[in-house]
């Protein structure tokens, strides 16, 4: 259901402390999202491509993941130039495609590709439990982290329960149509899934109490410090500042005018 094709690997990126990777990924993605200059965007995209290359990710899975973004971008390119105000570059009857609209589309495409590639190279190169621990180390509230991990753990179980219920209705001759009966059946199915999930949550909680759970989770992981982490960090700061320089012509993030 959830694949982690990049999680195991032995590239330079995989060996960097996950906390560094998560922190850097957040930083450069936020920067990329706020860019307005095309040179800066191209620089960020080049940086993200370099990281994907360094992480030695399987090209097939990279393209597969990019494809789902591309599908979304196709709609952006079809619709935004039509609805965005500006200088018309192409007219067809009452329809006008605007220049500003196309530019916006190009911006959205470059930025989203760069961000997706950053996350692919830096974040999806770790398992979800490691991601959880990194988030916790980066001061994300423990409750949110455990919500994430528990969801990940039980989404498979709930998925299996859904499959069982679906089989149960199928072997009794159900095939979905656009009738009230079909909608009702699906509503029952979803309701049943909620009931089962909440009963399971209670049993899991009981099992945790029996093992002495008192509201605290303990982590077994220790992160080993290494000079590599800092080299990576400095290199990524170079990317960050280089992008910023291209964007603003100066490295100060805030321009102060008198």
């Amino acid at each position: 259901m959830i694949e982690e094709p990049f999680a195991s690997g032995n590239s330079i990126i995989h060996r960097i402390d996950p906390r560094f990777r998560v922190a850097v990924a957040i930083l450069v993605s936020m920067e990329a999202a706020l860019l307005k200059d095309f040179r800066a965007m191209a620089f960020a995209l080049a940086g993200s491509l370099a990281l994907v290359f360094l992480a030695r990710l399987d090209l097939f899975h990279v393209l597969k993941r990019l494809f789902s973004l591309v599908r979304f971008l196709v709609f952006v390119w079809l619709l935004i130039p039509l609805t965005y105000e500006g200088q018309a570059v192409y007219l067809f009857g009452p329809l006008a495609w605007s220049r500003e609209g196309f530019l916006l589309c190009a911006q959205i495409s470059l930025k989203s590709l760069a961000i997706l590639l950053f996350f692919m190279a830096l974040v999806s190169t770790m398992g979800l439990s490691t991601l959880g621990k990194s988030l916790k180390a980066l001061f994300v509230p423990g409750k949110l982290v455990h919500l994430l991990l528990m969801t990940y753990r039980y989404i498979f179980v709930i998925g299996q329960e859904y499959d069982r219920l679906e089989t149960a209705i199928k072997i009794r001759g159900f095939s979905p149509t656009t009738t009230l009966h079909s909608y009702k059946t699906y509503a029952y199915l979803v309701a049943m899934l909620f009931v089962k999930a909440s009963i399971r949550a209670e049993r899991v909680h009981q099992a945790m109490i029996l093992r002495g759970f008192r509201g605290r989770f303990y982590s077994l992981d220790t992160f080993t410090p290494s000079y590599r982490n800092w080299i990576f960090f400095i290199a990524m700061m170079g990317l960050f500042i280089g992008t910023l320089f291209l964007e603003r012509g100066s490295v100060w993030p805030i321009t102060i005018r008198f």
């Binding site: 039980y154 899991v204 002495g212």
Partner: protein
Amino acid sequence: MAHNDTILIQISGVSYRYPGSAQPVLDDLSLTFREQDRLGLIAPNGSGKTTLFHLIMGLIKPDQGTIEVFGKKVEKPRDFIPVRRKIGLLFQDSDDQLFSPTVMEDVAFGPMNQGKTREEAIEISRKTLAFLGLENFEERITFKLSGGEKRLVALATILSMEPSILLLDEPTTGLDARTKSRLIDILNHLNLARIVISHELEFIQSVTDHIYTMENGRINLDEELHIHQHHHVHRHGKQPHKHV
């Protein structure tokens, strides 16, 4: 049960009725469980076996009657904290018991809650996994284990807390023959008092010494079952018939 050992669990006249149901599921049930006892319970579905386990562990409160564990009466939630350290309950569905991402984290969860240090918890978890023949499972992802592996890892999460009593709730459900015999082997190498609920005669016979049935919310202590197999020739052939 003619032992002279100390009494571990003493249940006297316990009744329990689930909210909204007319019949009590346990009705004036009594049981004396001593050190070294290996007790098997065979009972139909809905006869209150799981309820009995939940009462002993303090997950639910009896409507009537008293429960004493290690000679101490247990009533309030606080009373059950030491009980839960000493008694390990294996759930019917191992998915309920394994909630951590990796096997090691799950097995170490109990010891960490008991106040052990990280190193101690890892050490004890390694030993427990090795005892169960699961040496290379530490970094395995819990939900990607097979049914049989899940059951054994769930057992590991309990054994790592070093209990002195095991309560096993239908431990063979969904296991193949090989894992079943592995489980029998493991249980017979564990010198732990136990109560085992199962509907599999052969299994329950090989891991317990005394087998009783449950009926009308009580344990039939006056009728100990002795399971034996016999072979005989049938004149009736394949026709349905009764053994008188």
